[in-house]
């Protein structure tokens, strides 16, 4: 017999695609720490500020990981966050109930996720197109019902719990992020649903032949993404004390970048929840550093784009070298 299963349980290949983001993160962090030391990059307040500012992207990236690991894409998250912030603010204004207001935001997100899922599975639209359309529909509606004006929130408890507050010196948004990542990581890594998501993204036909309800898996993935985008909207409302149609503009792109940087393949079938967190933080650090460096917003945009391209390229190249070896 050929050497059968040498070293039975221990021989695991090193997942370079998943590890790269951590290495890049450390390099970028050290680089900015040295370069921007005089500008206070390493100050605790600045670091906590980064965490606060990236919280929404980080949370939406959990949903993004599910959707992309299942082989789909969700472009609606930024628009959903905007509309959810508006809904929360409106309900709070009219009714005053925090619970109802939060429910309104989250339910709206869930609803859009369901619609996305149905469009992709039942009507077989490509996810890119379906969610591109829904994104415009949602943001347009948000603009229309608010007439482009902000809906102010005047409820300290709400803003404390959902954005502005902190426990000790730690912003409450950090706790929200941790909570969502704990749940997300559990579902992704430890439940059978997580396996089903990966199988559906890895080879939908084979998953179907394995007795998995792939349509259901896709719909639930979109719902998770929508729900978290809805929560993101509530958190925007809390942090900025208002609901507004323009929140979360471009978030869908940040989420995609964070998720891909984190080691999830756009083609589906592999994914890393914690990688998405690191990916989001990486984006947050870059944004923060570029602002500290006093760059114009044009320059910021250019450099941000370049860094994303270089990071993904580095990550892919290492994988190629690793494979060729």
């Amino acid at each position: 017999m050929q050497s059968k299963l040498v070293n039975k349980k221990h021989a695991k290949p090193i997942p370079f695609d998943k590890l790269m983001v951590y290495i890049i993160f450390v390099i970028v962090f050290v680089f900015f720490s040295i370069l921007l030391e005089p500008k206070g990059f390493l100050n605790i307040t600045n670091l906590l500020n980064i965490l606060r500012q990236t919280a929404v992207i980080s949370i939406m990236a959990v949903g993004g990981t599910f959707v992309m690991a299942s082989g789909q894409i969700d472009l609606t998250v930024g628009a959903v966050a905007a509309m959810s912030s508006v809904f929360s603010a409106l309900v709070l204004q009219k009714n005053g109930s925090i619970i109802l207001s939060v429910l309104a935001g989250i339910c709206f997100g869930t609803f859009v996720g369901l619609i996305n899922g149905l469009l992709v599975t039942k009507l077989r639209l490509p996810a890119f197109l379906a969610t591109l359309g829904v994104m415009q529909l949602v943001r347009g509606s948000a603009m229309k019902i608010t007439d482009t004006s902000a809906i102010p929130i005047d409820n300290d408890t709400f803003t404390y719990i959902f954005g502005a507050g902190s426990v000790g010196s730690i912003p409450i948004l950090v706790f929200w992020t941790m909570l969502i990542y704990l749940i997300g990581a559990y579902i992704f890594y430890k439940s059978s649903f997580g396996r089903h998501v990966l199988a559906t993204g890895g080879n939908r036909l084979s998953a179907e032949y394995s007795g998995i309800k792939t349509e259901k898996v896709l719909i639930i993935s979109f719902i998770i993404s929508g729900l978290l985008a809805g929560l993101g909207g509530v958190l925007y409302a809390g942090r900025l004390s208002a609901g507004r149609f323009s929140y979360g503009d471009g978030d869908e792109m940040s989420v995609i970048a964070a998720v891909v940087l984190g080691g999830t393949a756009m083609s589906g079938g592999t994914g890393a929840i914690l990688g998405s967190l690191v990916g989001s933080l990486l984006m947050g650090i870059i944004n923060n550093a570029l602002i500290l460096a006093n760059l114009s917003s044009a320059e910021q945009m250019m450099i941000r784009g370049a860094i994303i391209v270089v990071s993904v390229a580095v990550s892919n190249l290492t994988q190629k070298i690793q494979k060729a070896a």
Binding site: K4, V6, S192, G211, I212, G269
Partner: protein, 497 residues
Amino acid sequence: MDNYCLKLNKISKSFGVKVLDDIDFALRKGEIHALVGGNGAGKSTLMKIMTGVYSKDSGTIEVNGHEVDIHNVENAQNHGIAMIFQELSLIQTMTISENIFLGREIMKNGFRNTKKMNEETSFILNKMGLDLNPEITVEHLSVGNQQMVEIAKALSKNAKILVLDEPTASLTDNETQKLFEIMHSLKTEGVSMIYISHRMNEIFKIADSVSVLRDGKLVFESIIQETSIEEIILHMLGSTSDVNLLNWQERSYSSDEVMLQVIDLSINDQITNINFDVKKGEILGLAGLMGSGRTEIVETIFGIRKKLNGTVLLNGENLEINCSADAVKAGIALIPEDRRRQGLVLIHTLKDNILLPNIKAYEHNGWINENQAVNATQAKIDEFNIIAKSMFYPINLLSGGNQQKAVIAKWMDINPKVLMLDEPTAGIDIGAKEEIINIVRNYADQGNSVIFISSELSELLAICDRILVLHDGVISENILRKEILKEEELQYAIQVS
């Protein structure tokens, strides 16, 4: 000796473990050389080294007496070497001629010269005796014809040495016949071929000489006239193994109780009013040509296809199956025909693939018990003798036959009451075939029912208690195994009826 067109000297290759060990191999001009060996013996790897897909660790390659460097597929092509892969590699959405000229399109004034390419494609196809329109998209071709197109593609690049890796695994008998004819005519034109197959009778039909690989070593080489099936199998399995060809064995279990009953099942306008039953402990064979409806019937029972009407009873109870998940819940499993597309998630690990249909069983209070999952996987790997570096490696790195064993292993974990297998032994070596047949037999002996589809009649005759012959969606015969005396009778029933 200069009648060798290709020589491989002391080729070694390791992927962490040694896969090829000092292989010497020589191919004469104009011969068909069969390369055989068990699953994972290293056949495909050796050929991929020769054709520039993999790089060798050591050794040299000579073409027509000159040492050559082959680093990529293009190098190999320039030396006239081409390979038809085990996994077909045509682009499904492009036409035949676009595929054949992919990467070296004929241009005219900066435009693709479609007319010229179509003409040349027609010319090659005609030379091979194929009557196909060069402008058909490949996805509309049968697997057999796709294979022919692959060969045409290689020939159009002036291949003088052609490697065919298990080309007949998914061909019908007629298509196989056609392929052999083409191989014969290529031979007379001076093309040398290396032919990999697990089907011994084919090798004796077509090959001039044979080499046997075992565990990465070349253990035997002979002119075909000077050897026998038994001798080859002996070398494949190693001298210690006893050579036990596929023979019918008396079944120990028999029952009159019906397990699965199919009543008036209609699937499309071709396949209508199908009626049959399977008893407890019975192994029912479905025979027929490709396209006769065998796959459609099992896929419909499994809920992958929608039925038009008809009922399926399991243990006398009506089965409402609308999707594959319902079938799994009812205890029905299907091992699908195409392992790479339907059977496996290629980018996932061996472990994830094996556990996929039954992952819920390892979930307690919402948590997957990793230890239990690993142990269950290990048990399946041992039981089915799956050769892999580790259960955590992606399954596409396993040899073809071991991938197939994994597809079967993944379904045995749910302990189905009805097990349906669609061409389960395609690409599997003799030893593993025997193992799979034994597994199926034991499984049926526990009172479970089996529906077994195969295009290899000797295999159906070895394992089935009863065989249904399908013809254009109609069951034309229902024969007890005992009533069939010779393989030819079954062959006749399938072809004519």
